[in-house]
């Protein structure tokens, strides 16, 4: 690792004023620290968010589930509130990475990184969540911009994510056998404002599959999506899977997600 300075503030405002142009916020560090070890990044300073208690925790307020940015995957997976409000979200969190990663990694860190194969982006877009920062609120669809790119500005910090509680939701992913990242993952939700289908891992950034949404709106069953194909052009292709293979996985995972929805 290159050398850097380190700071652990105890409040959001303090963290925001500590961050400079060449600095990085440190959440759970499960991507950032491996990146630093490979010398792929050279921040001047890391501003560790783990000392900010207001960024942690899960609560249900009426029809909305709120998850603090520094809430770990294991806490979402084990939360009685999440399991009862949005079981699919708890199930998704319980399959991120491995046990050690889930014991450190956070929702705020994961979405701010916007890895194209991460699980959480599918849940946020699939559920129509809102990302709250120290400056504003951003709809999930506007938040995830492109490959490893979000709407966050320099020095802007995710504070929490709020999820409208759906009627039912399901998530299915085909994990990369080595990394457990989603080769393709599909999150399906039946919400008050209609059916939403979000796909991660298949393209450079999470996206909605609107043909499937239309089909599921009139018939929320696996059969409704099993015949719907996704255009392979523009999808990811690498040593793990071709674009055609990923396109096919979208159909298969969508059907499984609908079947699993509860």
């Amino acid at each position: 690792m290159y050398s850097f300075d380190y700071e652990r503030p105890s409040g959001v405002n303090e963290a925001a004023s500590a961050i400079g142009e060449d600095d990085k916020f440190l959440a759970g560090g499960q991507t950032l620290i491996p990146t630093l070890k490979l010398r792929l990044a050279q921040p001047g300073k890391l501003v560790d968010l783990s000392g900010i208690s207001e960024l942690k925790g899960i609560s249900v307020n009426g029809s909305e589930l709120s998850v603090g940015a520094m809430t770990r995957h294991v806490d979402v997976a084990d939360s009685a509130d999440v399991k009862s409000a949005i079981p699919a979200l708890a199930q998704l969190a319980s399959h991120i990475g491995d046990a050690q990663v889930r014991n450190r990694g956070t929702i705020g860190g994961s979405i701010s990184n916007n890895d194209p194969a991460a699980d959480y982006p599918a849940a946020l877009v699939g559920l129509g969540a809102t990302v709250h920062t120290n400056k504003r609120s951003i709809s999930a669809e506007d938040f995830f911009v492109d490959l490893f790119e979000t709407a966050l500005e320099d020095g802007e910090l995710v504070t929490k994510v709020t999820f409208p509680i759906p009627e039912k939701a399901g998530y299915a992913k085909f994990p990369n056998p080595a990394s457990r990242f989603a080769l393709t993952g599909v999150f399906v939700a039946k919400t008050a404002s209609g059916v939403r289908v979000a796909v991660t891992g298949a393209g450079p950034c999470v996206f909605r599959q609107t043909d499937m949404e239309a089909a599921l709106s009139s018939n929320f069953s696996p059969d409704a999506v099993s015949g719907i194909k996704t255009e392979a052009s523009g999808l990811n292709a690498d040593i793990h899977a071709s674009a055609d293979y990923r396109a096919n996985l979208i159909t298969v995972m969508a059907a499984r997600a609908v079947k699993a929805a509860s």
């Binding site: 499960q30 630093l36 560790d48 046990a99 050690q100 990663v101």
Partner: protein, 155 residues
């Protein structure tokens, strides 16, 4: 330099370290506790697994500074009064190791696994140990060891 203080295996320790010091470097180089291994150095193999406040974490993927004030347990902290921890004893009895390099991390993960799942099925054990790689055993006897230890630990 930054000063870090934590409790490791029940003992309070403190040192001035560079901010980019990993927890595993602090444990191995400063404390000379070399039971915690570095296998891949890319956050995949789990040989460096220790407990931080009771949770299994990869100590190669955490800064020493992030463990400020934490309660850390390494493989050296498991045996009590010269008696192996039931998980260590089960690995020994069930041939859960061959070369032994992954074993400290495997055991630390397995102890956390049994804490979270007192009576784990074979499938749960295999899934929960996804963060630990073994290149000798084929995992079969590791799974057997964890199952036996869970029974001995009163699951």
């Amino acid at each position: 330099m930054t000063t870090v203080s934590m409790t490791v295996n029940g003992k309070k320790v403190s040192a001035d370290v560079a901010p980019n010091t990993l927890l595993v470097q602090f444990i191995r180089d400063n404390l000379r506790l070399t039971g915690t291994h570095v296998g891949c150095d890319t956050s995949q193999c789990g040989a460096c697994t220790v407990h931080v406040n009771g949770d299994s974490v990869k100590s190669c993927t955490m800064l020493a500074a992030q463990a400020e004030g934490a309660d850390v347990t390494t493989i050296e902290g498991l045996a009590k009064n010269g008696e192996l921890h039931p998980m260590q004893a089960a690995f020994k009895e069930n041939h859960g190791l061959q070369c032994g390099f992954c074993t400290p991390g495997m055991i630390m993960s397995a102890v956390d696994l049994v804490k979270r799942n007192p009576n784990p099925s074979e499938e749960t054990i295999r899934t929960e140990l996804e963060g630990n790689i073994c290149r000798c055993t084929g995992y079969h006897n590791i799974v057997k060891s964890v199952k036996a230890a869970a029974e001995n630990m009163g699951g």
